[in-house]
Symmetry: C3
């Protein structure tokens, strides 16, 4: 089950990168670069931080293949995909949930303390999208004013996993539950336009 979700997450993130590139009228090379960076960038950052080199993205060929396949699908089918934005956001939310749990667990296995492991799990989940936005010179959706909650559900899920692990009570079902909770929180945030509080009184 997990590998399927894993690949679905990579696929969704790659589609999101490819569509961003297509909207900016990048050519096919730019589309591939942005798709691959969005899908694999978070995991590469995680593995560099853990000293687990070369990163998984370079040692598990199916990761690159899934990202390239998503780029090809986006290149051909983007008029359709634009209409499916809502569906894509669901894929992306699934990727967010899975990547933050997988990243946190890997960091815990490498001996990181709970809070640090959760921070690295969140980095895994949001890093690819951050690189996508940095490369296209856009203010990252991750921090942009008016974005629906994105990182916060991942923070909650990563902390839940890390604290359960610390308590010696972690089982795979906890990870699955956390991933589903992150997914659900993100979907709710999108549907109800939940936003984080701002420090507005800037005129003070």
């Amino acid at each position: 089950m997990l590998p399927v979700l894993d690949h679905a997450g990579i696929f969704a993130f790659a589609i999101s990168g490819a569509l961003t590139a297509i909207r900016r009228e990048f050519d096919v090379v730019g589309i591939v670069i942005l798709a691959v960076t969005t899908a694999l960038g978070g995991g590469i950052l995680r593995d560099l931080v853990l000293g687990d080199t070369p990163p998984q993205a370079f040692t598990r060929w199916e990761y690159l293949v899934v990202a390239l396949a998503a780029a090809a699908v986006a290149f051909v089918a983007h008029p359709l995909l634009e209409r499916l934005t809502r569906a894509l956001l669901l894929f992306d939310a699934a990727g967010l949930g899975l990547f933050c749990v997988a990243g946190t667990v890997k960091a815990l296995e490498h001996g990181l303390a709970p809070v640090a492991a959760a921070a690295l799990g969140v980095t895994t989940a949001v890093g690819g999208g951050l690189l996508r936005d940095v490369i296209t010179s856009e203010t990252p959706a991750l921090v942009r004013a008016g974005s629906e909650l994105y990182a916060l559900p991942a923070v909650a899920g990563a902390l839940a996993v890390a604290l359960t692990w610390e308590a010696g009570a972690y089982v795979p079902a906890v990870g699955a539950g956390a991933a589903i909770a992150v997914f659900a929180l993100r979907c709710l945030a999108l549907q109800r336009h939940w936003r984080g509080p701002q420090a507005r009184s800037s005129g003070g």
Copy 2:
């Protein structure tokens, strides 16, 4: 004494990141992300280059706590802090001095040659601010036309440390002196609007 300065540097850099986020109307998550990246990014880059993984930022919990505390302070007290910009620049200058010395010393301990160690020390000092500006899609203050000298004092301090080390004459007092000199040079540059020479005759 050094840990206090170290934490003061992290605190100052985190405040600077958080205030940047608040000015851009990022929400609380964006504020935290930018504060943490600005405060810990330079040290993470340094540790990745040295192969010292996981980076200190992930293994010493007090670093993250100090950065988060600074984000919380900025979130609550930013109208006050905006008026204290001058004081913040002093904190930032202190961080610049300390981080460039600490980064250079760590690189020398890992066996890097003097010039390479100095380059890595400067990277440590300016890396977090560079990431802050890249994430917010601003031309980095580090390179922007019209900025007062920022990297150059750090280069001078890092080279002084590295060459003293190479000469076998390094003692902690040299590091403290270099950090103070970097701090003083940066403050003088701010006060007297010292800028680096440009290659202006571009119409030639």
Copy 3:
């Protein structure tokens, strides 16, 4: 022969970074930072991914010297260099060819599979320019709409090297041939304005 080309590639990339900085009216520090990042950034990324730390850029002093020398040349001679843009593009194309071959070979020596090694070789070749454009908040030339083919020749060359290696038939002459082919393809793309296909029917 190879070291000469290697240094020529670093020199060309550093000139390209320095000229970008001069056009943006950065001061001398910004010019140095952008020159060094453009020239050495791709190799640093490669070495971090391979876990070969500290990266070569920090252990082989002549790399930094060549990059600094190029920055000095650009600072003094930029009115002349602006007129030599065409010549610089040739240098840059030479760097592209050499860096993609050298990066791919190093990745294969570290045991990466052919496609992953080719991907890392391309990253080596295009990474420095990407960092240059990210720091200056420009849409990277690498992906920008309307750029002549840049990454694609490198992909072809890197794959040729990787597949020859996989077949057990790699000899240095193959690498030299691949570097020359990348150089020639890039020059042809510039001369004939070859561009990658776009996914244009975005109104569909």
